[in-house]
Assembly symmetry: C2
Homo-oligomer: 408 residues x 2
């Protein structure tokens, strides 16, 4: 007998039929003797409907009232799911974020969770009830309704699982787990049985969209085993957990992430003196543009080249900004390319294995793919390549690191 926190997103509760299906799934777990706390989002479309209403009043509505408005979306779902459970003979009780004292700071529309009062939920579970909690919302110390921002329901679920010391936090989505890479690009992509929090964080920040980074961070911090499963088909999904020291043979690389939204800019002929990087990046960040990879080569003469990547949408803005400040930067000219992509290999096994980079570059070279930039962290290596080689690079690396699914 275990305690599971199960989170169902907007698509999974998007109609009365789907809410009924969620109720059936929950009851299935109950019948195996498990205690269940369910966290739900607003029915798909509902949050947008509410935001549209507010936009008819004002493009920039007061954040406090925005939270009062959109938090009704999950409140509707908890009531309907509890009704569906009760109608099927399963005792259930719903709670808004406020009612379980999901205490947050007071940053409306993107609040952060501070604590949860589990007393009522414990009492309900002890009495054999399923507890249904509204995700995405909380209250601040003064009782004002807050929301955690889009996707915050995952974080609510993890926070509840941590507070209740649940055996597992199960995130039901429209995919059946975390894959070695995007199956739409590599048809031999495999669902992973498990992956570590660190790897999942790298995968998420590199473009894999299965889970919100914030909820993975939270789960890692409180060591809440997190499982990604499909709402629509049965299956074990992927378990996201701490690194298991017992397992001798960690895979070296667990997954390949990639990202097309990249563009690179090179400032040519700047003085190779301290302070140049800060001048260039200061200029970029003053325009609220975010920088991803940064590379500066050791100079062979008194000047050097400085290269960095930005989101492709910010490319023109960043380029113009640099060009109109050439003199101030002491630079000769600006070059750029917005047809690049980033490919990354991720795996905690890299920590204890040498030669992973060499193997990666060899695999790319074999396909005649030129590497434009390289960046590394303890458990990942990212390369920038010409966009047109993206799929080829991902497939080559997927095979090289032994990730391909066996033929059925």
């Amino acid at each position: 007998m275990a305690l599971y926190v199960q989170k169902f997103g907007g698509t999974s509760v998007g109609s009365i039929e789907r809410i009924q299906a969620v109720a059936d799934k929950v009851i299935g777990y109950r019948q195996k003797g498990h205690d269940i706390v369910v966290v739900v989002s607003a029915m798909s479309g509902e949050t947008n409907r509410l935001i549209d209403l507010s936009k008819q009043i004002n493009d920039n509505p007061v954040a406090r009232e925005m939270d009062v408005l959109v938090s009704t979306g999950e409140q509707v779902t908890i009531a309907l799911l509890s009704m569906a459970l009760e109608a099927k003979g399963c005792p259930a009780r719903s709670y808004t974020g406020g009612q379980v004292k999901m205490l947050t700071d007071n940053v409306h529309t993107k609040a952060r969770i501070r604590s949860i009062d589990d007393e009522k939920m414990r009492a309900d579970l002890d009495q054999g009830r399923v507890v249904v909690v509204a995700g995405f919302q909380g209250v601040d110390e003064d009782g004002n309704i807050t929301t955690l921002g889009r996707g915050g329901s995952d974080t609510s679920a993890v926070a509840l699982a941590a507070a209740l010391k649940a055996d597992e936090c199960q995130i039901y989505t429209d995919v059946d787990g975390v894959y070695t890479t995007d199956p739409r690009v590599v048809d031999k992509a495999r669902r992973l049985e498990s992956i570590t929090f660190e790897e999942m964080l790298e995968m998420a920040s590199l473009g894999s969209k299965v889970l919100q980074i914030r909820s993975v961070e939270f789960a890692g911090k409180y060591n809440v085993p997190l499982r990604v499963l499909s709402s629509f088909e049965d299956g074990p999904g992927t378990l996201i957990t701490l690194e298991d020291d017992e397992v001798m043979e960690q895979p070296i690389v667990s997954g390949i992430a990639f990202n097309r939204d990249e563009a690179k800019l090179t400032v040519l002929g700047v003085d190779d003196v301290p302070g140049v990087a800060s001048k260039i990046l200061g200029l970029i960040s003053s325009a609220n543009l975010e920088v991803d990879m940064i590379i500066q080569n050791t100079a062979e003469c008194s000047t050097t080249d400085f290269t960095f990547t930005v989101h492709r949408n910010d490319y023109q803005k960043a380029k113009s900004l640099l060009e109109s400040n050439l003199e101030q930067l002491g630079a000769r000219e600006v070059a750029g390319d917005n047809t690049i992509a980033k490919v990354s290999i991720v795996g905690v096994g890299m920590r204890s294995h040498a030669g992973v980079g060499a193997k990666m570059f060899a695999a790319l070279a074999e396909e005649n793919i030129n590497v434009l930039m390289i960046s590394t962290s303890e458990i990942k290596i990212s390369v920038v390549v010409d966009e047109k080689y993206l799929e080829l690079a991902v497939r080559a690396l997927h095979t090289a690191f032994g990730l391909d699914a066996e033929e059925a």
Copy 2:
């Protein structure tokens, strides 16, 4: 400078345009220096939309969850109205029933208010904010969301006005006040400048639909001056207040109420002994049928006739019930008529005036209207007449008691 509680119903906030209009009206009062607490219902149609969702799950949903569901309707409105006020430069803050601790008993879907915490509202008013409160909803002692039942928003407004000791509770509706009688029946019907709580209660219970009986009772109990006004046009409306002993010349009759939903039943030839009435009415109430007027004549012989009225929808059921229990009741037969109507004159002035009844019967006799039943209370006289004479009776009484509007 006064403190007004202003309540706007579902039609008055039924669209973004109407919510904007309510904001303008509130700001108008603010600009005159008044403090304003606004109470709102769900946008028209929203409560029904939510109920329809629940009915797709279960015809008889759990009452606790029903309250969680439908209370979102008002929550959407308070957020949108607060946004609209803020967008027009008027500081505002919204509160759900739970947030102002509108404490109720735990009878879900028809809870009764016990107390209100005015601390936060006072603080907001002191800081120059308009306070926007969700009507119709509260919380019980355990923090469960409750609702007051349909029309409960009027009661919320009166309760808030009582708690805040407001100068006036203004109920905005789609009519511009309380009339001497229904203007659709009598074109000379006049809007009343004022009416007492007692008269309004009689008018409401006799069929006038302007205000919920419960909210009038509440206002009377706590002596909250209540004003009915139009949401859509300017005007003073009608003030509902305590009887003013200062006014020497109270009108004898303030209004004429009427009701078509009546049917009468007569049990003929029952023994004129104690316990007969309780036997008959016990039978009727055991079937959950409500009885309105009751009349038993003094008997001239050992048997008598017993007559009462029920709602017209219950007529057949009540008649069959009596007929199948004739023997048990010791009655000869049952007669009935479901084409009758009730007409009532209402006025606190009756207390100090003799001959009101005589005047009423004379006016009816003059039109050859036969009176079938009579029932009186301290401030009202009701008669039952053949339905076909209803309009004629109302017009005749309206004229006889000097209620007709002067020709423009």
